[in-house]
Each structure stands twice: as structure tokens, then as C-alpha cells.
Subunit: 724 residues, 2 copies
């Protein structure tokens, strides 16, 4: 949100720091000692930008200036000598412009005076347009595009944004044992950070093999990541990066890795007293919580939360071992889980900027068509949960150019089909998935993206755009059922190739069409049985699509079935020893089959954000909390026990939280902001304790009850639950 | 030209190094101690690129690898450990891919083996598209855009491209004298480089005021550039850049400047034994030459050549004091002069890349509409002089996107008008220049740009584009005369506003339409008198537009008049004491009026590339050498003495030169490449000495003679000149 802070903050061109930091993040992946960056275009920051601010000072003041880059300073249009770190401002009405050039890191500015301070009310331009008049001076009626500056949490002039690093904590292994020619260190659960060699003696080479499993760590020929460190008399050399540093007793490896096990082999005459690690983490707080009478479910929530903690870093990444990249399809799920766990809005914004990159758009997001659409949908979700319209205004120009790219790739029927260079992904399926022609799932996502873009155009004040995208969305929406609904199969079919509708039904389009409201309530109930609960339809084996499958079932009132499924599927991973949730889980596989993927024995990521979906499902469909106006200005709570005896939990909101405890006879709820509506199905008229005078349960047309929830007024509702 | 070198060269993504180096160049401008970058969008390099090469090795070989950035190496698709500086390649058919990431400087690669070496046959991609298949592996049928790698002259693995700097030479002042409280050093003529403080004693502050004139250097309040250096006990601080270095007896200032005079004032207790300079220059050779019986004209050529030498640096810049930027309108003239002086093709390419920058196009080149058009025209000229179609293929995608930008800004009649954000410049005129509506000059330049783009599309094998741009050019060409030709005034009028043709005639459109062939030969002769030689038409006071004015007169056979004009105008500057030619010269001004511009007493640049046009005029219209097939595969020589008794000179060609000496009775000519045609107007049949058997002067229909000139066969032609 656009907040005028009391403290000066480092500012930059919106998105630029995020893209720069994102390149550092994405490029930390290694594969067996090789640098492994993404295979899509990496963008970069604008190298020269100008920050400006017009202000009125009641009295003279001196400002402190810090900048990342070479800069100049203009006061009221007049260039000043040099690059001052202190500058006197006279009282009165003035304009300050500071232009910064920096090739290596994003131009960033910090100004702090008694009253004038850099914050996101400053404007910034990369001078993508500027008109200068005959005198050669920049005109005040410039056509340059100005944006509100971007910022984050950096408020120390001595620590510029480019020096940011996540915090670390020293951790020791839980156990160690000899194994073949080396030692195997077990850190007790999935973790992330830097291996530390302690008590170095002699010279030679140390090989460190990382494993998310014992099998991986000790399989030196096939483990996904490894390091080789040459210990010399006076210097230590990281053989992969060629980084050399003076030898000391303790050596912290340069590259962070994901692992539970370290298998360390000393070669030559080198000896080691111990191996420990520096755990690296994002300093996010668990603002959401969930507990119930079912301890297995509680454990699922906890492991899900830890999985999210590990994958929530500078950005929301997919997995901490592999790819360690920011993928849009993974991120849009992390966002939703985040709203029920950390409510870290800044990480959503950073991830959204990075995924979009810069113009020109030359391919789909991460090269994947569906991922482009999730990018749009993620912004719409962000606005709904946070109410942050300032961010929408900043990002909207890039939504428009991204949508222009998509619209430039539609067929004569206005639908998208995979063209050269497009990756039509959908899911990793254990069976044939036809990617030809118009996929129903892609049209459904496209339609939702048009709706999202129209909404954001309106927020950005771009009325012509809003009307255009609304129109395109309506036109596409009107084509969906005629094109894909199969009355015989009572479902949307998978695709249409050259105008010929396929006879195959898959789950994807049906799930999304259901919760985007593109099906009638009757059709929704029909696909519950014809598709979602129909074992003849190709099953889903990734937690990724399981996220939506279970969401669709929950949205259709299937909480009892979903609870069983969560216990079977995520409980199944726990029974396999998981300490974080996996990229893919097929209950039919056995032993080391669970570790393999992409044709590699340890290719599977055992800590993958999309594995953590119970976090979202339990918050949204069991505790039942959902914003109905942007940023929880209004929200609904529809608790569903789904077979549990009791549950309690917290759902974070932008500036507070909603806490509730639910059993079939009593609901306690307390919220710190927003206008809430608690909906209960009760066989008796609920009593409400703690409400303002005159506030009571209201009986609705469908026989259920609505109880208003006001901020900071804890309620106790007594009722008799009727569950569907 | 695409040449496979014997020696390995550093390679990069085409245009990226040029844009990066160009930012460094453009950002060296200072104004009274303030950093002063351009006011248009600065682009940057792609931060991650992949170089690749498929090859066959007869025997095993080891390659040396050097890279600027973090890199990985794939042999036949398999990632290798670390970042090796040596790598063994087995014999056989292989593919090597090296991917490099570098935020700060352009990713660059050097590979040298017995046979495999980096050169411009390697391909490179920024992965603006890549399709990966279901297995997660990059496909061979990738849609990624590959280009031929860019390179220049860097062949030392220890000296990567980012460390490039122009050479320097120590120079001493020609004279020194005391002036007010300081000392005035005179370096004898306009120069460029770094001031050097010698024999530092004591502590205090040294102020250095730079002047292209005595007046500027000694006017400490108004001189355009200055430095302030604080001399401490142990360290020296550049107060403008905050750069500190340990104190030594000799201190070289950090920023290069243009000057003839240095006025140096010591403040506090500091003393100086002497002030000298380090002259910085591009190592270009004068491959062209011109001499005649007229010593003033010879001096004009020499000062023009020196002006070009000073402004030919990493790029062709406008002026060495101000702006020190790369401007398209200035550059296109530098290119033409360069073809008759240095024939430094690489500098043309670098400048063309820099001026274009990256997509998306958000404004005209340098924000100026006409400068966009000169950019297109410059490429066409480059191809004609050099024959370098490889460069055209590399740059063509950016020609197309630039033209798309222009076409997106045309009116309903397909013509360009200044829109918001456009700077319609034309010229600095000493009188009112209407910039409203459709300017004839802009349509003429636009039309020529469409022709240039069509030509290059053809060279790039983009036939559909070629047809499209040809069609657009033809359509616009057909509209020019109906829209702007005024039969009464016998000229193209200046502009048309809301469909109403102006009654004003200016020189601009008439000049260009004349040498682009948009006027009939009759119309061309008419505008010679109705416009070019008509004092009632707004006069031109910049050497910039004088370039074209005199070219148009020469093209119409006005060499005698142009010679008088060169002696009056450029000779006038010499008589004012010029040691290099100026940005603007109005013979009507007096004394310090000549120094002022832009409302500043020393705002005018006294060394401006566009001031050097006699270099071009003398080579092309007096020596009369002009390529008629790309790269001088064929060329014509039409010598015109224009009143001179004799002239001699050299015109460089891609791999050689054409040398000739001309007087009214004899022409001697020798060329090292290409098929030449010497045209002479003679009252007798010329005799040809030195030609192959059977080669003789051929009488043409107009009564003149054509003599074929073969490579490396010096000819002596005796004739009796008939001059028009």
C-alpha cells in the first residue's frame, strides 16, 4: 500500500530492484557444480532514472543524500556541483530532481531531512519519453512517463539495497555417522543454507554431496548438487566458482543448497573436525495458524507451513533444491497459501514484478502459456486480499503490454492455441495430455485473465482499456460452453482441434470453470460427479493440480471428502518420512521411486511450495475465511468442520487477523479489522454473545444464518451445526 | 563484414557491448562539475546470453576459455562441472554452448583452441524465446532467436572488453602565463583529454577551469566545465565525483574534457610546478586526403579532418565539449565524412547500435523525429559504402521495430506530424521555423527511410517486409509533390497544417528531395535558383544544414559557387581563429558572440563534427568519388575542379583506396579494388595511358567520356577539361 512513512526509505524504479534481485535468486541454482540459470529471457533494471519530488518547506533544512550510482542533483531546474552527501534546502516551494546512473545494480536513492524524505510518494522516470523545447531545456509539459517510486524495507543510508541478504543462523547436525569413505550428517529435516567445514587440518580436497534423502547424499555419481573445495596451505578454493579466500579454521561454502543430509568426503591429506551449516531464511512470521482434534491433520498443516517457509525467500520459489526459480504457476499458489500463513504482501509484489520482467514481451511467462494467465490472476487475487490499489496502478502498464502480447497470438475465433515458442504445460500428468488446438483450460484461464486486466484497468483509471478488456472477456465467456460443454458427458471436454471438439474429458477446465463461475450451479454439481469424483477421468498426481482439484471440491461443499483425501495424500507423504511436501507424489510408487523425476534418480524436489496446499484449503474452506471486499474491508466466514470435532485457527488480514474456534455447538470469533459476516448452518437460531446491542443472527432465505462480526468485538455463537 | 578471423576474438550479443560502452561515453558529459547524462531512455545489455557453435574436429584439442561473467558450459547438451578455463574437446562432430550471466558489464566470451575460436560465426541468443518439451529439456526445434555474435578488435583473453579504454599521450602546453590569481595554459589548439597537476606541494584546493577560448577559461563563473581538487596531506579528492586516491607528486584528473586553455587557480597553501595533459584519442588513421593549389582550402580540409579526429572516439559524437553525446543527425554526417577520411566501419556500426538501443521503442531516436529517419538512412549509406550485408542482417530486426514505431504515429494520410513527446528539430534556425502539421522535410526523410528499410529487409531475406515497405514508400512518394510542390513558387513549401498548404518555402525539403531523386531534373534545376541561391529564403547558419545545402548545390553542378562558399564560411571560422570547426557560425556575429549559444556565454561547442563537412564535399563532389555498387564493387569518379587549378587526394575503400590527381589537362588515377568508371567532360577525346589493351575512353550520349578503371592499374588520362 502507498504509505507515507515517518522514516526515509531507499527508493527505485518500480520493479527494477525486484528484477535485479530476482536474477540473483534464479541464478543461484546449480546442477552438479554447474551454474544453471533459467532458459527464458532475463531482464534488467533501467540504468539511468530520475527521481523527483515537489515540496513546500516551512523552514530551511539540510538533507542527507545517499545514492547507488553516479548522480546529479537539480534544485528548481538548476544543476548543482558534484554529488553532495549533504545539501541545504531553503524554505519555500521547490522541486528536487536527482538523476542516477548505475549499470551494475539498480539506481537507488535515499534522502532524509527534517521533513523531506524519500518514500513512495516520490516520482520516478526512466525517461522513456521526454520532449525538450527549442531552448534545449526539458519542458515542464514533458511527455515523460512518471511512476510512483518503488521501495521495500531499506531505511539505512549505509546499507544500500544492493547489499541485501537474507539472515542466517548457525545450526548443527542432529546426527552423524561414518558411511563408505566419508561422513553422513543428518540435520533432522529438510533445510536450506550453507555447509560449514569446521576445524580444517592438512591439505587436499573436500567433496560435499547434498541430499534431500540419504540415498541422494550418498550417491555421489547422481546427487543433484555437490561442491568441491580445495584446501591449500594458505587459501581455500571453491572449484566450481573459482572463488578463492584465505584459509581459516572455519570455511563457509559460498553457495546455498537444499538438503537434509550432507555426505562429506575428504580426499588427500585434509581432515575436518565437524560439519555444520548456516541456515538461511526469510524473516517471515507465521501469522496464520490451524489446529484441530486430528493430530495427523495438524501435522500436515505444520509440515505445509514449514514447506512454505522454506520456499518463501526473496521471492516465492518452486522448490529449494530444484529449480530454485520463480515460476508463475507455482507462485500463484504460494500467494494464496501466503494469505493464510504469512500475509507477506511485499513478497507477492516482488514475485509479480520479477515474473513479468520488462517490455518487450517476447514469450509467455516462464515460456508457458498457462503461466502467463496465472500471472494476471495472481494480481487480481493480490488486490482482493490486500486492497493495494497503488501496486495495481504501478503494474497495470505491464499487464496491458502482456495482454497485448496474448491478444497478438489468438486465432480467428479469439482463442489461444499453442504457437511456435509456446509451452502449453497444464500439468505433469501420468498419462497422455493432448496439447493440440484450443485447450478448454487455457481458454478458461485466458477469460479470467481478461477479467482481471479489465478490473485493474479500472483501478488504474484507464477506462477505455477497462471497456475493451471487459468486452473481450464477455465475448470469450460466451463462447466457452458452446465450444466445450458436452451434454452427454456432462462436462467440458479437454480441447478442440481445427474446430472439432474432442471426446476426452480432463479435470482441469472443469475445476477452474467451476470456481470462476463459468458454469451454472447445476453444471457445477454435475461435474462434481461426472469429473471430480469420477475415477475414469485421468487422475492428478501433482500437488500442484491437486490444489485446484480439492479447491473445486471444497467449493462444491465436499469438505468431508477433501479431508479424507488430505489425510490420504499428504498423510501418505508423511508416512513416507516427508519433512516437507514434495513436487509430485504418486501413492502407487514405492521406495526410491518417490525420489525420481525428469528421468533422474533424485530429480524430484522434496520441498516444493505447491506441495503445501492444505494451508490454503484449511484456511479458506474449513475455517472458511474469505475477503469479499478488497483488503478485508468486508469478509465472510463460512466454517465447515468437514468431519472434525473441533478446529481453531487464525487468518491474517492486512493489518490484523481473524481468529476463530469452531465446534458443532459453539463458534468463537474475533477480528481486528473489516466488516465480517459469519454464516452458519444451524438447526436452532444461534445465540450471539458479545455483540453490540441489537446485533443478532439473521435468518437467510436458504435457512442458514448470518451473524455480523465487527472489529475488536469477540463473539461467542452457540448453535447446532447442520453439515452438508 | 563477417570475416572468419585467424585469431580468436571476444564476442557478445550484437549491439550489447556497443550500448554499454555508449552509456559510458554519453555519461562522461559534465556541466560545471555536475554529472550530465542524456535525457532519453538509456538501454542496457542482455544480462544472460548463450553462445554456441557446432563444429567438427579432426583431432582432440584443448580450448582456453575466458568469460566476462558467471558461466556454464554444455558439450553436446551435457552440463559440465564449474567454470573451467581450460577444457578438452574430443575429435568429431560436437556442439558447445556457453551461457554467461553478467549484470554489470555485457556477457562476453573468448574461446581459443588449435582450430576452434570465437568469432562472428558463433551464434548467440538472449533466449527471447525458447520452447522446452515435456521432458523439461530444451528442444532442438527451439523457437529461440539466434543471431550472429558481435565482436570488435579484442583478442587478448587477459583484457576483456569491459576494460577497453582509448589510448592516451602526454602533451605539454604551448605556452603559459599568469592571469589574475592563477595561470593560463594554452595547448595551442583545440584538444581533448585529462588535465595533469604536476609537482604538487602543500595542501589546499586546486580549481581547473576549462576553455575552448581564453574568455571561457578565465570566466570562472560561466565556463562550461571545471574541476575542483582537494589536496590533502596524504590523499587527493576529486570534489565532483568524491573519488579519492593516495597523494603522489603527479595527479591526473579523473574526467576527460575538451579545451584549448586551462586556467588553474591554487587556493589555500597548495602549489603546483606545472600543468600538462594526457591527450586521449581514437587510434584512427587518415586514410583519406585532399590537397589543391588553394592553401586556404587545404587548411579547411586539415582543420575539418582534425575536427573529425577529435569527435571520432568510441563513437561518433557531436562535440567534444558539449554535448559529448551521440546524436543521430550529427552521426549520419560523421558517417559520410568518415567514408572519405578514416573509413572506420566499426565506429559506424557501434554508433548505429547505440543510437537504436533496445526494444521497446518509446520515443524517436534522441527524442527527435528527424533523427529517427537519419538513423535509417545511415544504415543504407553504410551498406552502400561498405557492402557489409552481415551487419544489415544483424540490425534489421531493430530497423523493423523502429519503423513499426514510426508507422504507429502516422496520420490518416500516412504522413508524420509531431505528436506529444516528439521533438521536431530540423535545424537551429535564426528565424521562425514552423513545426506544426506535416513538414515536407519530415515526409521526405520518412520516405527515404521506408526505402532504406525495404532495401535492408531484402538483404535480411525478409521478402514480405520488403514488399510492405516498398509499397509504403511508393505510396508516400506519390503524395509528396501533390502535397507540397508549389508551382508558383517553384519549390516545395515548408509544411501543411490541417490540410492547408503553407505559403512558406524553406530550404530543407527542397535540398533532400533533390538528392533523393524525388524531384524531376527540371524541378531540381528550378529549386537551385528559386530556393538554394535565393537570399529571400530563410538562411542556414549551422554547418549542420549547410552540409546538405552545399551537397545539393554540388549535386546540381554548383561546385564553383560551393568553393566560394566554403572559403567564405569555413575560411571565416579560420579567420576567427578556429582550430577546429564550430557547432554554429553566423558570419554576421562579432567577437564573443561567436562563443555563445543556448543562452549561455560559452554554450557553443567549438569542435563539432557537423562543422567538418568540406571533408565530405571535397571527396565526393570535387574528387568526385562515389560507390555505385555496395562496398565499392563498382564506383564512379566524376572529378570537378570547381575553379581550382589542381587537386589531388585519396578516397579510402573497404580494403584499399582510390588515389587521383586532377588538373584541367591531366588526370592520374589508381584504385586498389572495384570496377571504376571515370567520367570526364573534355573538348577532345581523352587519351588513356596504362590501361589494359583495348580499353579506351568511351564517348557517352551527352558528349562526356567514360574511362574504365581496373584495380591496381594506374592510369594517366590527358584531356581538355570542359567545366560547367
Amino acid at each position: 500500500m502507498a504509505t507515507k512513512s515517518e522514516q526515509a526509505r531507499w527508493i527505485w524504479y518500480p520493479g527494477d530492484y525486484e528484477i535485479w534481485l530476482g536474477n540473483r535468486m534464479n541464478n543461484r541454482r546449480t546442477e552438479r557444480g554447474a551454474f544453471f540459470p533459467p532458459f527464458w529471457k532475463a531482464d534488467s533494471h533501467y540504468v539511468t532514472v530520475e527521481f523527483s519530488k515537489t515540496f513546500d518547506l516551512a523552514a530551511d533544512e539540510e538533507i542527507r543524500i545517499a545514492a547507488e550510482g553516479t548522480f546529479n542533483l537539480k534544485l528548481d531546474g538548476k544543476l548543482q556541483f558534484g554529488m553532495p552527501d549533504r545539501f541545504p534546502l531553503p524554505a519555500g516551494h521547490h522541486q528536487l530532481c536527482i538523476k542516477i546512473w548505475n549499470q551494475a545494480t539498480p539506481p537507488a536513492l535515499y534522502v532524509a531531512g527534517a521533513t523531506l524524505r524519500t518514500d513512495d510518494t516520490w516520482r520516478v522516470t526512466c525517461e522513456d519519453k521526454e520532449w525538450i523545447d527549442e531552448s534545449g531545456k526539458a519542458s515542464d509539459t514533458s511527455a515523460t512517463l512518471y511512476l510512483q517510486a518503488g521501495s521495500w524495507c531499506f531505511d539505512d543510508p549505509e546499507t544500500p539495497p544492493s547489499r541485501f541478504a537474507l539472515p542466517r543462523e548457525a545450526r548443527r547436525a542432529a546426527s552423524v555417522r561414518e558411511a563408505a569413505g566419508g561422513r553422513l550428517y543428518d540435520f533432522g529435516r529438510e533445510t536450506f543454507g550453507y555447509a560449514v567445514l569446521e576445524g580444517l587440518a592438512g591439505t587436499g580436497e573436500v567433496a560435499v554431496y547434498y541430499g534431500e534423502s540419504v540415498e541422494e547424499a550418498t550417491d555421489t555419481e547422481h546427487c543433484e548438487t555437490l561442491d568441491r573445495i580445495r584446501i591449500g596451505e594458505t587459501a581455500v578454493l571453491d572449484r566450481a566458482t573459482n572463488r578463492t579466500e584465505p584459509r581459516a579454521g572455519r570455511y563457509v561454502l559460498g553457495g546455498s543448497k537444499a538438503f537434509r543430509y550432507l555426505y562429506v568426503v575428504c580426499e588427500g591429506g585434509v581432515g575436518l573436525a565437524d560439519v555444520s551449516m548456516e541456515y538461511e531464511y526469510a524473516p517471515v512470521a507465521y501469522r496464520g495458524s490451524f489446529r484441530s482434534n486430528d493430530e495427523e491433520l495438524n501435522r500436515i498443516w505444520e509440515v505445509g507451513a514449514y514447506t512454505m517457509h522454506l520456499t518463501t525467500r526473496e521471492f516465492f520459489i518452486d522448490g529449494i533444491k530444484r529449480d530454485r526459480w520463480v515460476w508463475s504457476g507455482d507462485a500463484v499458489q504460494s500467494y494464496l497459501m501466503n494469505y493464510y500463513l504469512f500475509f507477506d504482501s511485499a513478497c507477492v509484489r516482488r514475485t509479480t514484478w520479477l515474473l513479468r520482467g520488462k517490455d518487450p514481451v517476447t514469450s509467455h511467462t516462464n515460456t508457458i502459456m498457462d503461466y502467463t494467465f496465472y500471472w494476471f490472476i495472481g494480481i487480481c487475487d493480490y488486490y482482493r486480499y490486500t486492497g493495494d490499489d497503488a501496486f495495481v496502478r504501478q503494474i497495470y502498464p505491464r499487464m496491458r503490454s502482456m495482454m497485448d502480447y496474448v491478444l497478438g497470438r489468438t486465432n480467428t475465433d479469439g482463442m489461444v492455441e499453442g504457437m511456435e515458442g509456446d509451452w502449453v504445460f497444464v500439468d505433469w500428468a501420468d498419462g497422455y495430455l493432448d496439447k493440440r488446438g484450443e485447450l478448454a483450460i487455457e481458454q478458461v484461464l485466458f477469460c479470467r485473465s481478461l477479467e482481471a486486466t479489465a478490473l485493474c484497468a479500472g483501478l488504474a483509471g484507464e477506462e477505455a482499456d477497462r471497456a475493451k478488456f471487459d468486452g473481450l472477456a464477455a465475448a470469450l465467456r460466451a463462447k466457452l460452453l458452446p465450444a466445450f460443454w458436452d451434454e452427454e458427458r456432462q462436462a467440458l471436454v479437454h480441447n478442440r482441434v481445427n474446430g472439432v471438439r474432442s471426446g476426452t474429458v480432463t479435470r482441469y477446465a472443469n475445476m477452474f470453470a467451476s470456481f470462476f463461475g463459468y458454469l451454472t450451479p447445476e453444471q457445477q454439481q454435475r461435474i462434481k460427479h461426472s469429473v471430480l469424483l469420477n475415477d475414469a477421468i485421468l487422475g492428478i498426481t501433482t500437488p500442484y493440480m491437486r490444489f485446484y482439484e480439492l479447491e473445486a471440491l471444497c467449493a462444491l461443499g465436499g469438505q468431508r471428502a477433501v479431508l479424507r483425501e488430505m489425510k490420504a495424500y499428504w498423510g501418505g507423504m508423511l508416512r513416507e518420512g516427508a519433512t516437507s511436501f514434495w513436487e509430485k507424489y504418486n501413492p502407487g510408487e514405492r521406495g526410491t521411486q518417490h525420489l525420481a523425476m525428469y528421468g533422474r534418480p533424485y530429480g524430484k524436489s522434496l520441498c516444493h511450495a505447491w506441495g503445501a496446499s492444505p494451508i490454503y484449503l484449511l484456511g479458506k474452506y474449513y475455517l472458511g475465511v474469505n475477503p469479499t471486499a478488497p483488503g478485508y474491508a468486508a469478509y465472510e466466514v463460512r466454517p465447515v468442520l468437514g468431519g472434525l470435532e473441533w478446529m481453531e485457527g487464525t487468518v491474517p488480514t492486512p493489518r490484523g487477523a481473524i481468529r476463530l474456534r469452531v465446534d458443532p455447538a459453539e463458534i468463537r470469533i474475533e477480528a481486528s479489522e473489516g466488516e465480517g459476516s459469519l454464516y452458519v448452518a444451524s438447526s436452532v437460531v444461534p445465540t450471539v454473545e458479545g455483540a453490540a446491542e441489537g446485533v443478532a443472527a439473521e435468518r437467510l432465505a436458504d435457512g442458514t444464518f448470518r451473524i455480523p462480526v465487527a472489529p475488536n468485538r469477540p463473539l461467542t455463537i452457540r448453535y447446532a451445526a447442520v453439515e452438508s
